[in-house]
């Protein structure tokens, strides 16, 4: 989308930083915008060495859609978990699930793992060292395959699409 250059290695990050700066300052005066832009330029340059190679973000708008989907799921998840927690009889069938990953890049995997944790009944507990399998703990699962398919459908595919890998 935005061409990567030497002096602007991570455009999206720069944008995020500028936005954060303005959020922090609570001001959109010219001075703050200039200063924010400067920071948005300098900080990525400084921190660039500490970034691992990034997959290209191909469809930012899909990312926005993804975020809203996760937010929605979070709310549902909370209600479900609350119900389970408050259930005086404590009826649950917890399980560990080995989720075979299709994603290969770390950033999307991280986003996926986080999404899984934040959303209904599941917590990602281990990314194995080969980065092929994500172990998930589900609080109340009927069928493991079902859960895997759901995750694949709701989160991993969109992520694959977003990062096009």
């Amino acid at each position: 989308m935005i061409p990567t250059q030497r002096w602007l290695p991570m455009p999206l990050l720069s944008l995020l930083l500028l936005a954060m700066w303005l959020l922090l300052q609570q001001s959109v005066s010219l001075g703050q915008i200039l200063l924010g832009s400067l920071l948005a330029l300098v900080i990525p340059l400084i921190t660039q060495p500490f970034w691992e190679r990034q997959p290209m973000l191909k469809h930012p708008w899909l990312l926005v859609r993804y975020i809203f989907r996760v937010l929605g799921d979070i709310i549902i998840a909370n209600l479900q978990v609350s119900k389970l927690i408050l259930d005086p009889r404590g009826r649950m069938s917890p399980a560990f699930i080995e989720y075979p990953l299709e994603l290969t890049e770390m950033l999307p995997i991280t986003i996926l793992a986080s999404s899984i944790t934040l959303t209904p009944g599941t917590v990602s507990v281990n990314l194995r060292k080969d980065r092929r399998t994500l172990v998930i703990h589900a609080l109340n699962t009927g069928d493991r395959e079902d859960t895997i398919a759901q995750i694949r459908e709701r989160y991993e595919r969109p992520l694959k699409e977003i990062f096009e890998c």
């Binding site: 930083l17 954060m20 922090l24 005066s29 921190t47 500490f50 691992e52 770390m106 793992a113």
Partner: protein, 932 residues
């Protein structure tokens, strides 16, 4: 002024021999003799004046605050001693030239000797009490060096130390005594003191002062019971013994009696203390002199005895006795020096000083024998010799004494016994060595010594004889002058003559002579009598005493300082409980005028959590990680409390420090045992709980007491001036970077030093690295969880942004360089945790020490910058600048200062933690690494 030269010349002279060489001995001796010769010349030049009753004085101001003046006087008493010291001293120099063996270090000997001579001259000429003490102590010290001259011999070392210990102790007593006298009189000026007899003796401090002074005098002059050091000082080379035990060292003690006589004598106390001590010493010395087999031993005990005579004389309440004492000082000096030198010659020539081995030396060394006989006769008090005259005076005066009241006849009787003994040992000394049949089994065949070595002996013997024959002619003037000084007035009229007619004293003398002869002949009975007693070696006893003292000291110290931190900490707590307790018990109540503010549930919950966590930290301390978690709850609660009570800056700082602190503690915990073993027993725990409770109670009480009292503080100034004066709205920050910026400079210096100190500690550290955790579980194999790495790299830029934000706003809102620095550091640490040291350092090889140091540097230079404007260090400036399009910008030097803080924090924190990480990584067991 030339008076001072008498003392100072020998002092300078003590440097002279050091310039000479051990090879050119004649030159060395000659050079050494120059200074005392000149000094003697000066003294002689003053002689006429002194004998006329003048007291020449010279003074140089030294320490007015102490009343110590470099003041010298040359009255008759001083003159008498000066002549003795310098005269005999010169003879000793000559004698030494021949006495010392080739291997002995002559320059060193002469240097010590001259130092000793100086200090003796100082004592006798001092016109100031404290100055006298100064030289007094110097004689102890220089005699220590002289006695220890042959330091390879154990006897020499021990003898030297013993002499130093005894005379040193006496010196300290003397100091106390003289200071007391000074306090009584209000001056240390000798003349003033000597003129204040009434004042002194009526003061309640007189008796302690007298005792202390006498303690000094008696230790120095080897009076019983302090006599024991003297015989062991014989380990010194003979010239030293000759000098120390005839004219000098031991005479310093009796000199002091004479010197202080006008001020201190005349009281009952003086009479008994001095007189009886002298008497006992006289008998003691004489008796043991008879028993000794070592030539020098005999002479040493004889010295003790003669010093007893002199002391006795000063103790008798009579003016003539004082004169006799002075006279005996001179006489004793002459014959004793001669005898010591003779003994040295005998030792030198025969290779032994054992009287049982020596015999019939007169055949080999007739001249020496002659000298020995003459000097021995003087010592024995044979008529026509000088010793006779003074001894007879002693006997005569002993008849007059009021001492012991009804039993006063004991004094002359015992004095006679002493004289009798003296005759006996003199006889034994002379006859057994030089006569008594032909010599046998001597280690070496003796010869007559070199003439120049014998010359001093001859000169001294001649003096003995001449004085003995012509006492009035030779001695009257000098003695009168000396006596008038010692008696503070005119001397009694002296009638020094060989013949005073038949009087009790003469009869006593004769008794002594005959009795002595008889005793000598029957001496085996005495030896037999003495054999019943176990011989005890004073040196051994002394050594044992010292050893015992040292051991007791060591035991005391070891038990007190057992190297236990707990013990030391305990003392600290006890100290706190004592002082704070003593203060708090005085208050009527803790509650001040202010009422408690109302409580709410949140506060109660917070307090409960904090207290619970604090207690849990302590209670669960044996499980270290849990204790650490509890600690971090306390940290969290502390920062919440700061937030609750209007201290946002503190809350932020506490939070940021807390996390770094936790990381640090955990890093360290890895290398320490994970659990603390159960070590303290119940009593110890109970004790510590009680102490801790007491301490906590005091802290709480103080806190409550302060909180319930109103406060008028200087803080209004800061609130009022923060904006106009410091250009910032956040008063806490303005205080930190401006009002009290100096504190902050110190604080970041501390941080920087701590980091550097840690760097030093990590240097060449050999770590103990557990290969499994506390429960024996091996470590996980995943070094750097991948998801963590991704999040860390994402957070870093955000954190940097936040930290920049916090930094910039610090002056006007909560924040500032310190917090910003910690945020930056924490974010970088997260990266280190997530990615490891190698990965991180590889990508950004940063040296942290220069950053930390540069930070302090920036802050310092900001402060120095104000010099340019003629303002004090750290004076701030700020201004508002209008920039088109952007608007008003406030720029303050405080920001620059804060930048220094920021850099220091970042540099120091990472220097501490990253270095630690780096070094552990280097040492991590390779087993794990391969699998990684």
């Amino acid at each position: 002024m030339s008076l001072l030269l008498i003392v100072l010349l020998p002092l300078l002279g003590s440097l002279v021999p050091l310039m000479g060489s051990n090879e050119r001995r004649n030159a060395c001796a000659t050079m050494t003799a120059v200074a005392p010769t000149i000094a003697l010349g000066i003294a002689l030049a003053y002689m006429g004046q002194v004998l006329d009753g003048d007291i020449p004085r010279a003074a140089v101001s030294w320490i007015p605050a102490l009343g110590l003046e470099l003041a010298m006087r040359l009255d008759g008493l001083s003159l008498l001693f000066v002549l003795l010291i310098l005269g005999i001293g010169l003879l000793i120099i000559l004698y030494t030239r021949f006495y010392l063996a080739d291997g002995d270090d002559m320059p060193r000997f002469y240097a010590f000797l001259m130092l000793f001579m100086t200090s003796m001259l100082g004592i006798v000429m001092a016109d100031n009490l404290l100055l006298l003490w100064v030289f007094w102590e110097l004689t102890s010290l220089s005699s220590f060096l002289l006695i220890g001259y042959w330091y390879r011999q154990s006897e020499a070392r021990k003898g030297a130390r013993m002499a130093l210990t005894v005379t040193g102790a006496g010196g300290l007593a003397l100091l106390a005594g003289l200071l007391l006298i000074g306090q009584i009189v209000g001056s240390y000026d000798m003349q003033v003191v000597l003129d204040s007899r009434e004042l002194i003796q009526q003061d309640p401090r007189y008796l302690p002062a007298l005792l202390l002074v006498l303690l000094g005098a008696f230790t120095k002059s080897a009076q019983v019971p302090f006599q024991f050091w003297l015989p062991h000082a014989m380990a010194a080379p003979t010239p030293v013994s000759a000098f120390l035990h005839s004219a000098t060292m031991v005479k310093a003690g009796v000199f002091l009696l004479a010197r202080m006589h006008p001020a201190l004598a005349g009281s009952e106390a003086w009479l008994y203390l001095v007189g009886l001590t002298g008497l006992v010493t006289l008998l003691y010395g004489a008796y043991f002199a008879l028993l000794k087999h070592d030539l020098k031993g005999i002479l040493a005990f004889s010295t003790v005895s003669h010093l007893g005579i002199i002391t006795l004389l000063f103790g008798l309440d009579s003016r003539l006795a004082v004169v006799a004492g002075l006279f005996h000082i001179v006489n004793h000096a002459c014959f004793k020096a001669a005898l010591f030198m003779t003994a040295g010659i005998v030792d030198h020539e025969c290779g032994t000083r054992d009287i049982r081995k020596l015999k019939g030396l007169w055949r080999f060394m007739p001249l020496t024998t002659t000298m020995a006989v003459l000097a021995g006769a003087a010592m024995a008090g044979v008529p026509l010799f000088n010793g006779f005259l003074s001894k007879e005076m002693m006997l005569a005066e002993s008849l007059q004494t009021p001492l012991l009241g009804g039993l006063s006849w004991l004094i002359p009787a015992l004095a006679t016994v002493g004289s009798l003994l003296s005759v006996a040992y003199s006889l034994r000394l002379v006859r057994n060595v030089f006569f008594d049949g032909p010599a046998r089994d001597l280690p070496r065949t003796p010869h007559e010594p070199p003439r120049l070595m014998l010359a001093p002996v001859m000169l001294l013997t001649v003096i003995c004889v001449v004085v003995g024959l012509l006492p009035a002619l030779t001695m009257t003037a000098l003695l009168e002058a000396a006596a008038s000084a010692a008696l503070a007035g005119d001397s009694p009229e002296l009638h020094l003559a060989i013949w005073h007619g038949v009087n009790p004293a003469l009869l006593m003398s004769l008794t002594a002579l005959l009795g002595g002869l008889l005793l000598y002949l029957q001496r085996r009975h005495v030896f037999a009598f003495q054999r019943q007693f176990r011989p005890r070696d004073a040196r051994l006893l002394f050594e044992m005493g010292i050893q015992l003292g040292v051991r007791i000291a060591q035991r005391a110290i070891d038990s007190l300082e057992n190297g236990s931190l707990q013990r030391y900490m305990l003392w600290l707590v006890i100290a706190v409980l004592c002082v704070a307790g003593s203060a708090l018990t005085q208050t009527s109540g803790l509650q001040g005028p202010l009422e408690n503010q109302p409580l709410d549930g949140l506060l109660i919950a917070g307090a409960i959590i904090a207290m619970f966590a604090g207690l849990a930290t302590a209670i669960m301390h044996r499980r270290r990680l849990i204790s650490l978690l509890m600690l971090s709850i306390v940290g969290l609660m502390t920062s919440l409390a700061f937030a609750r009570f209007s201290a946002p800056d503190l809350a932020l700082t506490q939070l940021a420090v807390e996390v770094v602190n936790m990381i640090l503690l955990m890093l360290a915990l890895f290398f320490l045992p994970q659990k603390t073993p159960q070590e303290s027993g119940a009593p110890r725990i109970l004790r510590d709980v009680l102490l801790a409770a007491g301490f906590g109670g005091i802290v709480a009480s103080l806190n409550y007491a302060v909180l319930t009292r109103p406060l008028e503080s200087i803080s209004d100034f800061y609130l009022e001036n923060s904006v106009p004066g410091g250009g910032g709205h956040n008063v806490v920050n303005v205080i930190l970077v401006d009002f009290r910026g100096f504190d902050t400079l110190g604080e970041i210096t501390v941080l920087c030093i701590a980091a550097i100190g840690i760097y030093k500690l990590l240097n060449r550290l050999r770590l103990f690295m557990p290969s499994s955790d506390a429960d024996g579980r091996p470590w996980a194999l995943d070094h750097h969880p991948a998801i963590l790495g991704t999040v860390a790299q994402t957070i870093l830029p955000l954190a940097l942004l936040v930290s920049f934000f916090i930094f910039l706003r610090g002056h006007n809102a909560p924040g500032g360089g310190f917090i910003a620095g910690l945020i930056t550091a924490a974010a970088l640490l997260l990266l280190y945790i997530a990615r490891g040291v190698d990965w991180t350092q590889q990508r950004a090889p940063i040296q942290f020490q220069p950053i930390a140091v540069a930070g302090v540097g920036v802050a310092t230079l900001t402060g120095v910058g104000s010099f340019v404007f003629g303002q004090p260090f750290l004076t701030s400036a700020y201004g508002h600048f209008h920039i088109p399009l952007i608007g008003d910008i406030e720029l303050a030097t405080a920001i620059l200062f804060d930048l220094g803080v920021y850099l220091t924090v970042v540099g120091s924190t990472l220097m501490m933690l990253a270095n630690l990480g780096k070094m552990t990584t280097r040492h991590r067991p390779s087993k794990n690494k391969e699998q990684a």
